[in-house]
């Protein structure tokens, strides 16, 4: 099973102190008021994914945010996922829908001709 997380806020089950401290060191932060974890630093993002996967006991993937439409989407629909060195990591990208929407690009190109 794959668990999909939102980088801006996600819940984790209660864990022991060492695991919590490790997550904080790796670059997560915890908001007590809303009881949600979020990513503060992406320097150790691969290790964060591993630690969160170990806590949840399942593979985790993060949602991507599209720079064009602003919507969140998953990497599994992308045709470049095999070549991507940052797949499933919580970064910005262009969603397959916006990228395949050649309308804007082609219209402008045709006008040039």
């Amino acid at each position: 099973m794959v668990i999909v997380l939102n980088k801006n806020g996600f819940k984790l089950p209660r864990m022991d102190k060492d695991k919590f401290v490790n997550l904080m060191r790796l670059g997560l932060e915890y908001n007590r008021d809303i009881a949600l974890f979020s990513i503060k630093s992406c320097n150790n993002i691969e290790k964060i994914m591993e630690a969160v996967s170990a806590i949840l006991g399942s593979e985790v993937v993060f949602l991507q945010s599209c720079i064009r439409c602003g919507k969140d989407f998953q990497c599994n629909g992308c045709s470049y996922v095999e070549l991507c060195t940052t797949k499933n990591l919580p970064f910005s990208c262009v969603c397959p829908r916006c990228l395949s929407d050649k309308k804007h690009f082609e219209e402008a190109s045709l006008n040039l001709g």
């Binding site: 992406c42 990591l89 990208c93 690009f105 402008a108 190109s109």
Partner: protein, 412 residues
Amino acid sequence: MLRNEILWVEKYRPKKIQDIIGNEEAKATFAEWLQNKHHNKKAVLLYGPPGVGKTALVNASAKEYDFTIIEMNASDTRSEKAVNAVAKPATSYKALDNFSGTTKTRGNMLFLDEVDGIAGNQDRGGVSAIIKIVEESLVPVIMAANDPDISKLRPLKKVCLLVRFQQVRIPLIIALLQKICLLEHVKAEFEALERIAKNSRGDVRSAINDLQSLSEQNHTLTLQDTMMLRSRNKALSMDETLRGFFTAESIGEASRLLSYSNVNYDDFLLSVSDNLPKRYIDPNELAKAYNLVSQADVFRGRIGTENWHLLKYFYNELAKAASVNNVSYKPFEFISPPIRIITLFWTKGKRTMLNNICLKIGAQCHVSKETAKNDFIPFIKVILQKKKSSGLVDWLKFTQEEVDFLAKMSRF
């Protein structure tokens, strides 16, 4: 020849932070730091692969936040003296304009690009001088590096806020290329842009250069046009390099393959040497190939750490060794990594144990490790083989494991 003289990488260099594509989190962290939201760190180290926007981010943010950049890059000498001469004055005072309110500028920003390239005698004392400057600086100090894990940068990392840059994703590069095509009036096929983006391996700069070189003449770009693109930064593994090397049909092909590969030259030389007997069955061919490898080794020695202009001769001699007889090739299983490295790996535990024993003997007998190994251990070994629990064991403070190791040791 390019039609107009301006390179598109320069023409479309980001003017604002938001113009830089990808690495949103890194950009946000850096902008926060620049606005003094990270008071505990006086310097920032931007690190990541080339062409992902590290230098562009510094330039764009300097424009956006009205800083004057004082830059030192890999083309400058960065010894202690040189760093102090340039960076100290730039960082030790704030601009007077700042206080008068007559200009918008917020003062200097020191930018040290490619700090991982500070090396050798030429840049002696450079890193420690930079650390001192960071500690005393009154202005933001920014550094950029491709590889932050090299040992000489460890002290620098302690005083810096680290910001990691990732390869720019293919869809983002395609989106940027589409935008440039529109602005440059280039009619481009989507598949052609896709191929350029894939080929760039996350390097935006190279993608823009490829787009310009392929489309500037005709203002059109088809997938067919991109077929001549050579793969960039193709990181061939040792296995792939060896396979390509031994199956090469000409010296030129073998030589070209070596120039693409990123394997360590010394490891590759050892691997070729180990695999030659499998490649050439005929003794005369094998002798000829080994002779060429030995000549390559001579060139490797002459290259050392600085004479890189000799690298082509190293490649050439190795390539000749791969093509002594192209007809006799039969597929075989490669030995990789080199036997010497495998042996060193397997014997590491034994060597560490022997080293500890020599240290104990050296401490008790006031001799060097080498003397302990050559002059003492052969006798101690004979003594222990006869009687394991002698007074000697207690005096030299050997553990039971060390006694067993010495007694069973066949050679050293």
